[in-house]
Amino acid sequence: MRDEERARLVVSSAAEGALSVKDRMAIEPFDMPSQEPDERIKNMDEVALGYTEIIARAEAERCLNCKNKPCIQGCPVKIDIPLFIEKIREKDYQGSLRVINRDSLLPSICGRVCPQENQCQKYCTLGKALKSVDKAVQIGRLERFVADINSSNMILPEIKEPSGKKVAIVGSGPAAISCAADLRKEGHEVVIFEALHKTGGVLSYGIPEFRLPKRLVDREFEKLDMMGVKIEKNVLVGRTISIKQLMEDEHFDAVFVASGAGLPRFMGIKGENSVGVFSANEYLTRSNLMKAYDKEKSHTPIFIAHRVAVLGGGNVAMDAARTALRLGAETVDIVYRRTRSEMPARKEEVSHAVEEGCNILELSQPVEIKSDESGKVSSLVIRKCRLGEVDQSGRRSPVEIEGSDYERSYDAVIVAIGNASNPLIKMTTDEIEVNRKGNFIVNEETNETSMRNVYAGGDIVLGAATVILAMGQGRKAASAINKRLCSEG
């Protein structure tokens, strides 16, 4: 409760108009209340509990409302951050949400899963002045607060008169959601085609409940439904129907492809097809989408393992490792070829994983998976590495040390070294040009592909990226599609 008292003090001195810039700079950032590590690993509930109203108001007082607002430049969709924070100070939470909604439709999701330390908060003047990004204004936490406090009243945008145009959207992840909403607002008929039995893409099958409660995702689809966006599940574009058929037979005027980067990469090492080796996608899909963590109710099994190795250092690796712990693993090792400071995962997720008891094996390159006579994983052969020269990614590259191999015993290995774009649409649509990695090549201004009136955005264009970048692409494509449809009359 110390934070609450401190917050009350800040808010009351602010009310007296007594906060100078220097005073504001002296306020320490407010931590996010969260479940204790030994408690939270026994459940799937959300770890971070969110700011209380008083804490949010106090954190909002830290914003210096600086003239050049660099934070906005750091946000991929350019939310007017100082303005929504000012509305929190004024206790006008609905007004604050309206400011965010002008540019972002998913604040409850982005506030939770955006890597703010590399985006808005990285550019915060306060963080720069205090020489630590950790001391920046906690913009993500404030965004989440605004979304959550308004959760009981759904604000729907105005929908224009029917335009007589039809747009098909392939996929129902973040890029699709934002594109669908923007197009529907303009009065177009919008139909989302989703292959799985549940909408939301990575928000549903990838990111675990303890980081992103699924009720928040469901709510976004309720909103789209109320706006009149149609959703067709169980349609795999490329098999159930092709892009060409959508346009020629079903008479869609435009198509937006947002099918994501769902193809799991494997290491290509010996033993990778042993029993007990899973892609993180499979492991997380079983747990999140199929609810296998709820062992009483779910009919989908999940592999019971005591010693788990997770290969990789991104957010997906952290999600898989933390899920394995919650499913009862005794030890979980995160095997990463560089060091902790080069990990692409969010800092917060890495420290959550460590707090919960995951070990990080740094400078470790898996070279072989060994199995017993029944084909089950028994151990992992790991080669030690050292850090070499800085590579293209701007990080020091791992260099394998010959002769340093050693074995550690495991009964499950989860491969989380990244995803590539799903090749199915490309396989069945020759007209669409892709790059060497299989990502769709689009016009940077409009997100149109090499096939006329077919647009694409999100991970299918960017490769595995972030939720907010996908949303930004969805909006850009929506605006280009709208322009094209209007000019065609």
């Binding site: 795999l236 769902g262 494997f266 097809n273 989908t300 099994p301 090749p423 199915l424």
Partner: protein, 281 residues
């Protein structure tokens, strides 16, 4: 929502449902499958072959054996009930062309997926010979349908209760001796493995349809991966059909048992909870 128009019991543990699914009926080709999820948050996704389809009526047929919790629950549905989610058609269609003489071998419930493929080869002008096998007389499926394609249909059973008392590989070898251009084998992994061995002996190309663990069926998880000629392939998008002589059968069979403890326990529990007699669905 996909309504069950017709429910037929083909044997003690095998059912055939006719589902109303016009879009799938229109697009599907021989060799393709669907993924079925009964509905709600907790039911599993089950891959099942499209055994037949009627484009005009807008329906497809699926055949399944009650082996686990999901299939037992499916078996409790009645005509008029609905399945919430049916995704398809999935997988690559069988490459059908005129090759000459095709021997189609089906084992157990594998006879159901074999039917549309045998039919398509026949329609493409091939001479089609069919062998179907099962453990016993009660488990022989679709004998009449198959006879319509091949009047000289060969039936085998392990116990001799119907047709020849033999494994399917025995008549297969006899037919191969007379020369054939292609073998298509669908059934339990071990049966497909031995059909492959026999066909290789006579230098005849053999196509098999793999039935691995699957979750999404769209290529996003790799749960269905197999090693084909040393390369990892996903059965759901690269298959389900492969050249039998390139399949790493031992690895595939081991992977198929990944959840066998769980399934055994659940199967037992199904029979108790649903008050189903052992051996009966």
């Amino acid at each position: 929502m996909y309504r069950i128009l017709k429910k037929e019991r083909l044997s003690a543990e095998v059912f055939r449902y006719t589902l109303y699914a016009p879009l799938i009926a229109k697009r599907r080709k021989a060799g393709q499958f669907v993924v079925v999820q009964q509905g709600g948050d907790y039911s599993e996704r089950i891959p099942l072959t499209i055994a037949d389809a009627d484009e005009k009526e807008g329906n497809i047929k699926i055949v399944f054996q009650t082996v686990g919790e999901g299939t037992h629950m499916l078996a409790r549905l009645e005509e008029g009930d609905v399945i919430e989610n049916v995704l398809g058609p999935l997988g690559k269609p069988t490459h059908i062309e005129k090759v000459g003489k095709v021997i189609c071998v089906g084992g157990g419930v594998g006879v159901a997926p074999l039917y549309p493929i045998a039919k398509a080869f026949k329609e493409a002008g091939n001479e089609v010979r069919i062998i179907i096998g099962a453990r016993n007389k009660d488990l022989i499926l679709e004998e009449e349908e198959m006879k319509a394609l091949d009047p000289e249909l060969i039936v085998t059973t392990d116990d001799g209760s119907a047709g020849r008392k033999a494994l399917v590989t025995e008549p297969l070898e006899e037919l191969l001796k007379e020369k054939a251009d292609l073998v298509v084998a669908i059934g339990p992994a071990v049966m497909m493995k031995f059909c492959t061995k026999v066909s290789e002996k006579y230098g005849t190309k053999v196509l098999v349809s793999l039935n691995t663990i699957m979750i999404d069926g769209t290529g996003m998880c790799g749960g269905c991966r197999v090693s084909i000629g040393g390369e990892t392939k996903f059965v759901c998008v690269d298959g389900p059909e492969f050249d039998g002589s390139l399949v790493d059968w031992d690895n595939m069979m081991k992977r198929a048992r990944t959840f066998s403890d769980y399934e055994k326990e659940k199967h037992h529990k199904c029979h108790i909870d649903m008050q189903i007699e052992e051996g009966l669905a």
